[in-house]
């Protein structure tokens, strides 16, 4: 690109130089032609000559007339006035015509000359005959006057000539200088062109020299490369160059190859692809190919042929470099064979792996457990159908399942914890039992293995959980039973022993005293026996009630009844039984209708009331209250007795359980348990509030019934 630009500029400069030279030449020639034209039209001298000739003729005529006036005879007719006047008239006529006339006019003499011409013309016929001397003298004087006038004109013309000459000289001088300048221009342009020519010739010589050196160098290189064959060929694929490398390779030397067609020289060039590559190189396309054949020694070998286009001196040639690459070729073949074996092995291994993977996936798919795998970024890698159909997943993240969304699905299940929501990169393994839906439990196991892959396993453990719950409840019941029986044994050993001891001692006394026993004493003893028996009977009833309750044989027969009346009756009866106790009663004036089994509720109230009296020492004070709150009726029994220790408040409704403050006071530990169970059957509950040595407050509630319900119940 720069080279072409440079050459373009050089050509332009040369053109400009040539153009300026031509222009200078043209201007010079034009100026010189101007001068030439001026010189050609230069005829003022001729005019002057014409005038002087005319003046001379006028003088001759005057002389001739003078001689004629003196009657002189003319030997030569050319000296006679008639001849001379004709000559003069012809001369004068020239001055009155053309450029001469304009010159004379310039000096203002044209009129005078025309008048003289007229006079001479008039006088001319008179010259034929003998001339009157007076007329001749008169004409002579006129002719002399003409001559003098002509002399004056000649003087003026001469002066004009000199002026014009001076002007012309200066003009010529200017032309000379201009021409000189143009000549200098020509010389400069020519010098420049010569310089260019010289430089061009010099450069051409230099280039030729470089070319020759390069040629020598390339010849040297080509002829001394013995391990690489080089050939140059023309369009007919005739060999132009055959280097010694080719000789060692194909066994032919340059003398019997150069000038021959390549196909005729060696079988390698007859091959279609080789011949095509050589032809393509001539057309301008490089090519590289390998040819496997036999060496002159008959061994297998591989030749690499590089074909390139070559442009030398406007000719389209091709050059080919031929190299023996047998060693590389064999090594490559070896490598290819090994590669092929390796590929086969890889394929076998891959197939085995794929089979194992398919088996694994099939196993996972058919496994009862849900299974999913995520990569370390939390992207889902795999999830089987079981995990996809798990309820939280189908509801919350069926479409876009990532580890975070997946774990969040389970966050709202029972048993979940915050680890499911605060999942981050520093992931810790999670093991959770989750209640997926009512009655369906699953074990969620999230584990990170090497490489960051996170496996999630979701196992259905509903059956296990149900079994565990059943076992637990069975165990609880067993424990409860065991405890109950332990309590029962304890209670029996305490509560049954005392009346039995009374019975035994009374019986012994009666037996020992025998006859000596008085009637009163006997009555006392028998009374004691009966009292103890009554007590035993109560104990047995209590135990039976409890047994009935356990066996589920207590039936609930609810009906509407007035709680105030019910409780009031019980209080009244109790006052009679326990005359030493003060029972306060506080209830609304109006009836409080509740929906209950009044016989069972009576048992509850009696139990609470007797307990309050029993655990209040010598002077029991008991307060019974009834009130309503919303749709429920409440009844409370308060005492200010021994109370229950705070750590035992929660256990007092257990069967056969008795607080330690109750030691020494008769009781089975069944009553409160029985009462609580009755309240549970009614959908209510006994609440307790108690402080040791300060008293207790027992409250139970019942649903209120309206009139319709009471009517229905009735």
């Amino acid at each position: 690109m720069t080279v072409s630009l440079k050459s373009y500029r050089t050509a332009l400069v040369t053109l400009v130089a040539i153009a300026s030279m031509v222009a200078c030449l043209v201007f010079t020639v034009a100026r010189l032609l101007d001068v030439e034209n001026d010189l050609r039209s230069e005829d003022t001298h001729t005019n002057l000559w014409q005038i002087t000739q005319t003046q001379f003729e006028a003088s001759l005529l005057a002389e001739s007339l003078a001689r004629a006036a003196a009657h002189e005879t003319f030997a030569d007719p050319e000296q006679a006035p008639d001849f001379r006047i004709a000559i003069l008239v012809s001369r004068l006529a020239v001055l009155l015509e053309g450029p001469q006339a304009r010159l004379v006019e310039h000096f203002g003499h044209l009129g005078d000359l025309k008048r003289s011409y007229l006079q001479l013309t008039l006088a001319e016929p008179l010259m034929q005959g003998p001339l009157d001397p007076a007329f001749a003298l008169q004409l002579r004087a006129q002719t002399r006057g003409l001559a003098q006038e002509l002399r004056d004109i000649a003087n003026k013309v001469m002066i004009l000539n000199r002026e014009q000459g001076a002007l012309k000289r200066s003009m010529y001088l200017r032309v000379v200088f201009e021409s000189l300048a143009f000549v200098i221009g020509i010389v400069v342009s020519a010098a420049f062109l010569l310089l260019r020519l010289f430089k061009g010739v010099h450069e051409a010589t230099q280039a030729r020299r470089l070319l020759r050196q390069e040629q020598e160098l390339s010849d040297l290189v080509i002829n001394n490369i013995s391990n690489q064959g080089i050939i140059i060929f023309d369009e007919q694929l005739s060999c132009l160059l055959w280097n010694p490398g080719m000789e060692t390779m194909l066994g032919l030397n340059a003398d019997n190859t150069v000038g021959h067609r390549l196909q005729a020289l060696a079988p390698i060039f007859e091959k279609t692809e080789v011949a095509q590559a050589l032809t393509e190189a001539i057309r301008g396309t490089s090519a590289i190919l390998e040819d496997v054949g036999l060496s002159p020694q008959g061994q297998a070998r591989c030749l690499e042929i590089n074909c390139f286009p070559l442009h030398i001196a406007e000719r389209r040639l091709g050059i080919a470099f031929i190299r023996d690459i047998t060693e590389q070729w064999e090594a490559r073949k070896q490598a290819e064979r090994q590669n092929f074996d390796l590929e086969i092995k890889v394929q076998q291994r891959t197939a085995a792996l794929q089979q194992a993977e398919r088996r694994l996936i099939a196993a996972i798919e058919t496994a009862p457990d849900g299974f999913a795998a995520f990569d370390w970024t939390g992207r889902l890698l795999f999830a089987n159908e079981q995990i996809r159909s798990a309820e939280p997943v189908t509801v919350w993240c069926a479409e876009d399942m990532t580890l975070a969304t997946f774990l969040r699905c389970f966050a709202m299940c029972e048993g979940a914890d915050e680890r499911l929501l605060t999942h981050d990169d520093t992931f810790v393994d999670i093991e959770l039992d989750l209640l997926i839906r009512e009655g369906s439990w699953a074990h969620l196991s999230v584990t990170t293995v090497d490489g960051g892959t996170i496996f999630v396993r979701l196992t259905d453990i509903s059956g296990y959980k149900q079994a565990a719950q059943a076992l637990q409840s069975a165990l609880d019941r067993e424990r409860e039973t065991t405890g109950a029986y332990r309590n029962f044994v304890s209670m029996v050993s305490h509560q049954f022993r005392t009346p039995l001891a009374i019975l035994d001692s009374s019986a012994q006394r009666i037996l020992r005293r025998g006859e000596s026993l008085t009637q009163d004493e006997l009555v006392v003893r028998v009374q004691r026996i009966r009292s103890a028996t009554k007590r035993l009977t109560r104990l047995v009833e209590s135990v039976l009630n409890a047994a009935k309750l356990d066996a589920g044989r207590i039936e609930l027969n609810p009906a509407s009844c007035n709680l105030v009346d019910l409780v009031w009756d019980i209080c009244e009866r109790q006052r009679e039984l326990s005359s030493h106790a003060e029972i306060r009663f506080d209830a609304p004036e109006t009836a409080v209708q509740v929906y209950c089994d009044s016989i069972l509720i009576e048992q509850v109230v009696i139990n609470l009331l007797t307990n309050a009296i029993k655990y209040s020492g010598e002077t029991p004070v008991v307060e019974v209250r009834i009130w309503m709150d919303g749709s429920r009726a409440y009844c409370s029994v308060r005492d200010w007795g021994i109370g229950i220790p705070a750590d035992e408040v929660s256990r007092i409704f257990e069967r056969f359980y008795r607080a330690r403050t109750a030691t020494g006071i008769a009781g089975t530990g069944i009553g409160l348990n029985f009462a609580q169970k009755i309240m549970h059957l009614h959908g209510g509950e006994i609440q307790v509030e108690s402080y040791e040595a300060a008293g207790s407050l027992f409250t139970f509630d019942l649903p209120m019934s309206n009139v319709d319900q009471s009517q229905q119940a009735a």
Partner: protein
């Protein structure tokens, strides 16, 4: 030099193998002599001279040139005899001729000028030329036909009042 030789040879050839007219002896002039040719000529009708009257010249042929001149304004029709015809008639053998006029004007005219076919004009615009009208013979060149003739050297050869030719 070679050109001159060629012309001489040509002229010699013309002289030797001359037409019948050239071989005929020149008759004596009957009227007033208006042109005298001297020098290297073959035909003479006086000692060393060939003399021509108007009638003899007119008999040598007729030609005309329409041209302008350096001496007059405008174009004129000149009629007369070709100069070459006159020279052929006298068998002129030379390279140049000296033309003289009644007004003593003299100039050398080379024979090369014959290629322009100059005319010995005797009439201008149909009017017979007299001495006062630059007659009776006027050498006229076809000035308008040849650019090179518009030159002072050729203008000087327009000899009027011609009366003598000396061939050399």
């Amino acid at each position: 030099m070679r050109g001159y030789v060629l012309i001489i040879l040509t002229l010699l050839g013309l002289t030797c193998g001359a037409p019948a007219g050239a071989a005929e002896p020149l008759p004596m002039p009957k009227g007033r002599v208006i042109l005298t040719i001297t020098g290297a000529i073959a035909q003479m009708n006086a000692p060393g001279e060939a003399r021509f009257d108007r009638e003899m010249i007119e008999a040598l042929g007729a030609a005309s040139i329409t041209t302008s001149s350096a001496w007059t304004d405008g174009v004129q029709l000149f009629e007369g005899v070709p100069l070459k015809a006159v020279l052929d008639r006298v068998g002129a053998a030379g390279t140049s001729m000296t033309a003289s006029a009644l007004n003593e004007y003299e100039i050398v005219i080379p024979f090369e000028d014959l290629k322009f076919s100059p005319l010995l004009a005797m009439k201008a615009d149909g009017r017979v030329l007299t001495i006062r009208d630059k007659g009776p013979l006027w050498i006229v060149y076809p000035r308008d036909d040849y650019e090179e003739l518009r030159d002072n050297r050729y203008e000087s050869r327009w000899v009027w009042q011609l009366n003598r030719l000396h061939v050399e």
